[in-house]
């Protein structure tokens, strides 16, 4: 009943997984919630890591903006750089990605450089 869950605390999972992807030679982009307004489901500091094969771990919202963040991440995964994304109900893009939960979040997206 108490099995393998003991070994890896969930909150530590994102950076640890990102490190393992890099060890396996994959490119990795990190997205971090930097500001929230209203009732955002994930607090400031929450992170999502995306690998170059499209796998991801962690979250930056209740699930409504992850898709958009992942496609932004895949755009910078080759050439590097950073992006600051904002999603909210007043933002048309938010409707496109389905941010119907009424909150606003700002998310910083950055590539973890190779080397």
């Amino acid at each position: 009943m108490v099995g393998s869950v003991h070994k890896a605390p969930v909150e530590d999972g994102v950076l640890a997984r990102a490190a393992r992807w890099r060890q396996a030679g994959k490119k990795v982009v990190l997205a971090t919630v930097v500001t929230t307004w209203g009732s955002s489901p994930r607090p400031v500091g929450s992170q999502l890591a995306v690998s170059d094969d499209g796998a991801f771990v962690g979250s930056v919202s209740g699930g409504c903006v992850e898709g958009a963040v992942i496609s932004e991440a895949l755009e910078i995964i080759e050439k590097g750089g950073t992006r600051l994304l904002e999603f909210g109900v007043t933002n048309e893009q938010a409707w496109e990605v389905g941010l119907a939960c009424g909150d606003t979040v700002r998310i910083f997206v950055e590539k973890i450089e190779e080397g």
Binding site: S4, P9, T32, V34, T35, F108, G115
Partner: protein, 242 residues
């Protein structure tokens, strides 16, 4: 993020030290502020460094405005810790659930038959008396301590050590009668009623928990409340599991 900053962040986390990553959200320039040094491309003014140290102390990430643009201070703290005293049945789901909830869990019980690897695979176990074990663990304001021993020989030394620490949550399994007897013993040991009020006993939120797993849920719920709504628990002690 530069590769060397990422590597440093991982090693600080592995060493369970608090650090902050500061990022200028306009330029993307970034630096890591550690306990004794800093590294990276973002120049840290005295004001910025002070704000980051305060954020680390308060364990809370934030964005601050500077002349060069907004700077996000991302605090990376070591996991919260939970010390469970008594390798009894309830400890099995409690250790598992607390681990999922992000706690670094240590189980304390000098009795080999209880604190066996077979009963607790993969769990960090200290097979020694709780007083000594807790002295070595050095509980701080990011540590919770729960006694499940149902035996004063195990629980009293643990509560003694817990009350002398800054632990943010202290829970003790046992009925109202057990708690009353415990209160007398602690008073004889020199503790005040204010000290005793820090102990949540019977342990856990009152959700009618009966099975070991349900009791574990109620304990983790109460630990969460102690951390997130410290005011809400006043006067509510004594509602939980016996």
């Amino acid at each position: 993020m530069r590769a060397e900053v990422f590597a440093r962040l991982l090693s600080e986390r592995a060493a369970k030290r608090s650090v902050a990553i500061l990022t200028n959200l306009q330029s993307g320039e970034q630096s890591l502020l550690g306990p004794s040094d800093e590294m990276g491309g973002l120049a840290l003014s005295a004001t910025l460094r002070e704000a980051a140290l305060r954020a680390i102390e308060q364990d809370s990430s934030r964005t601050i405005e500077t002349e060069e643009g907004p700077v996000f201070i991302h605090v990376h703290s070591p996991p919260l810790r939970l010390a469970v005293v008594g390798a009894v049945h309830i400890a099995q789901p409690l250790v598992a659930m607390a681990t999922v909830a992000g706690y670094a869990v240590t189980l304390i019980d000098p009795r080999q038959a209880f604190a066996s690897d077979e009963r607790f695979p993969g769990v960090a176990i200290m097979r020694e008396w709780p007083g000594e074990a807790l002295a070595r663990l050095e509980p701080d304001h990011r540590t919770a301590i729960v006694t499940l021993g149902h035996d004063p020989k195990l629980d009293d030394p643990a509560l003694d050590a817990a009350l002398r620490s800054d632990a943010f949550y202290i829970g003790a399994l046992g009925s109202e009668r057990t708690q009353a007897a415990r209160r007398e013993r602690l008073r004889e040991a020199g503790f005040t009623d204010a000290d005793f009020k820090r102990i949540h006993g019977p342990v856990g939120l009152a959700i009618g928990a009966r099975s070991p797993a349900e009791i574990a849920v109620s304990i983790i719920a109460e630990m969460t409340q102690a951390r997130r709504q410290p005011g809400a628990l006043a006067g509510r002690a004594g509602a939980g599991a016996r």
